[in-house]
Amino acid sequence: MSIEPKKKKINLSVEIAGIQFQNPVLTASGTFGYGMEYTDFIDLNLLGGIVVKGLSIKPSHGNSPPRMVETASGMLNAIGLQNIGVEVFINEKLPLLKKFNANIIVNFFGDTQDEYVLAAERLNDITEIAALEMNISCPNVEKGGMTFGTEPKITEELVRKVRKVTSSPLIVKLSPNVTDIVVMAKAAVNGGADALSIINTLLGMAIDIKTRCPMLANVTGGLSGPAIKPVALRMVWQVAKAVDIPIIGIGGIMNAQDALEFIIAGATAVQVGTANFIDPSISVKIIEGIKNYCQKDKIGDIKDLIGTLRS
């Protein structure tokens, strides 16, 4: 894109939980399908990583429609974690995905603690899978629907159980719907997390005043997109100050500037979510934009930018 004559080589690679990423831009779970949905639009080889749609040990149909609605600079979704299940993923999707340079990260969840453990066990020790990302923003069936990710004790216990059954790098993805994200982050660290993904969606709702019905069949859904960026950034910053493991920043990242804000706040890498729907090639543009920023600001290694907020 740039027409400058001599460009210094910039090192964009980062390390998270012992895995090398060629650059710090990943695609977020649930917004990138199983990867192959995007091959018409971008070269998956260019990505730092691909986090696939959240998988459970058994396939799941997900929620009744309507499942999504647009909001101001955001969207609500209540997909209900529809997925093909761990087994089908391994047999049908992974063989296609593994051909690319990008690290494959498998996002997974369960309705019960046992289901988390079963999924993690099945996904353990598959060389094509670079890391597991544990989604703890799921309704806890055993606890009447409160999510696993809002009670520090349960979070710690669950992470520990999963930690025991897998030798893969374990990333825990936190829910933002909590009073104190730092407490939750520390619980995940204590349970054995290697890295943290921050944040999942904020719980929201919309109503059709003509019919007086909720816009989502599920009534509430997860808010994502640029609307939530300020909240996500704040949480990444808070946690980065408090824990020693790497953080992957997520929430409303639409361009390189947004991604850089997260890195400056303390994220080692970022995930691009909702933006993929609007521009399916955005992740590659973000990598390019980060490179240009480093070039301009004379940053030879992206790692030198992480957590450099001046305040």
Partner: protein, 263 residues
């Protein structure tokens, strides 16, 4: 991809026809497929808008695709202010499009309001490709202002039956009343139905055709975040597969066999 607007005219109060110059889309689009259009440069509105392709045409020797849209909210209202010469960002074509049955003898189109949009392109193609095809159009709307594209079908010698809720054009009442009579009296196994319009209309047509085992394809409207199978936000419940199974309207549809849908 960025394409240039060649025309954007109000053809009836609240309905616009927008033509964009695009050899790629003109060449690759099948009837029933759609594009996703970004409206405005900012984060509000955030998502692209799904818009069916209405026609493929040539404007000043430029291959174009045309949209026919109704202003219903923020995005379509912004679309209505777009000007000739402006660039607009679209993705597509997406979706399966209508399946055109081999050796079809009778094609019946059922349109509600702006649902006529994809049917115009479908009818034109079917008439062009077939040798001996009889076509019928059942078209309905709130008032005569909502009944569009009659001239396109007249050109094809289609038999047209109009219904408006306020009786300002054609029969008074729902278009499905006319369809019902037609099916009872005339339709038989040789006919194939193609319907696009409000959900309740599609459901009614689906029930009417199902009773007589007449094949019927419906084009569904769903709110969409991506349009290409990544978000799973657009699903519809289908009869096929195990209980509670869903299909993507954007990639498995938007056109479905009517009896595939759990109405």
């Amino acid at each position: 991809m960025f394409v240039t607007i060649v025309e954007n005219n109000e053809i009836s109060a609240g309905y616009f026809r927008l033509a964009i110059h695009s050899p790629e889309l003109a060449e690759n689009t099948k009837p029933g497929q759609f594009i996703m259009m970004k409206v405005g440069d900012n984060y509000d509105p955030l998502l692209r808008r799904p818009m069916g392709i209405h026609k493929i045409s040539n404007k000043d020797n430029n291959p174009c695709v045309e949209l026919l849209y109704q202003v219903v909210g923020k995005g379509t209202s912004m679309m209505s202010k777009m000007k000739k010469g402006q660039q607009v960002d679209v993705l597509g074509p997406f979706g399966n499009g209508f399946a055109i049955p081999q050796n079809i003898k009778i094609a019946v189109f059922v349109a509600g309001g702006v649902g006529i949009a994809p049917l115009a392109m479908l009818a034109e193609k079917m008439v062009k490709d077939a040798t001996d095809l009889k076509t019928y159009l059942f078209i309905g709307g709130k008032s005569k202002n909502d009944v569009l594209c009659l001239d396109d079908f007249e050109k094809l010698n289609t038999k047209i039956c109009i219904a408006t809720e306020n009786g300002s054009l054609g029969n008074q009442g729902l278009v499905t009343n006319s369809v019902s009579k037609f099916i009872d009296q005339k339709a038989n196994g040789q006919a194939s139905f193609f319907a696009c319009g409000p959900y309740q209309m599609l459901k009614a047509v689906s029930e009417l055709t199902a009773k007589k085992n007449i094949p019927c394809q419906v084009s569904l409207d769903r709110r969409m975040a991506c349009g290409f199978g990544a978000c799973l936000g657009c699903v519809v419940k289908v009869t096929q597969g195990n209980h509670g199974s869903y299909k993507n309207v954007c990639t498995d549809g938007p056109v479905f066999d009517a009896n595939e849908i759990c109405w």
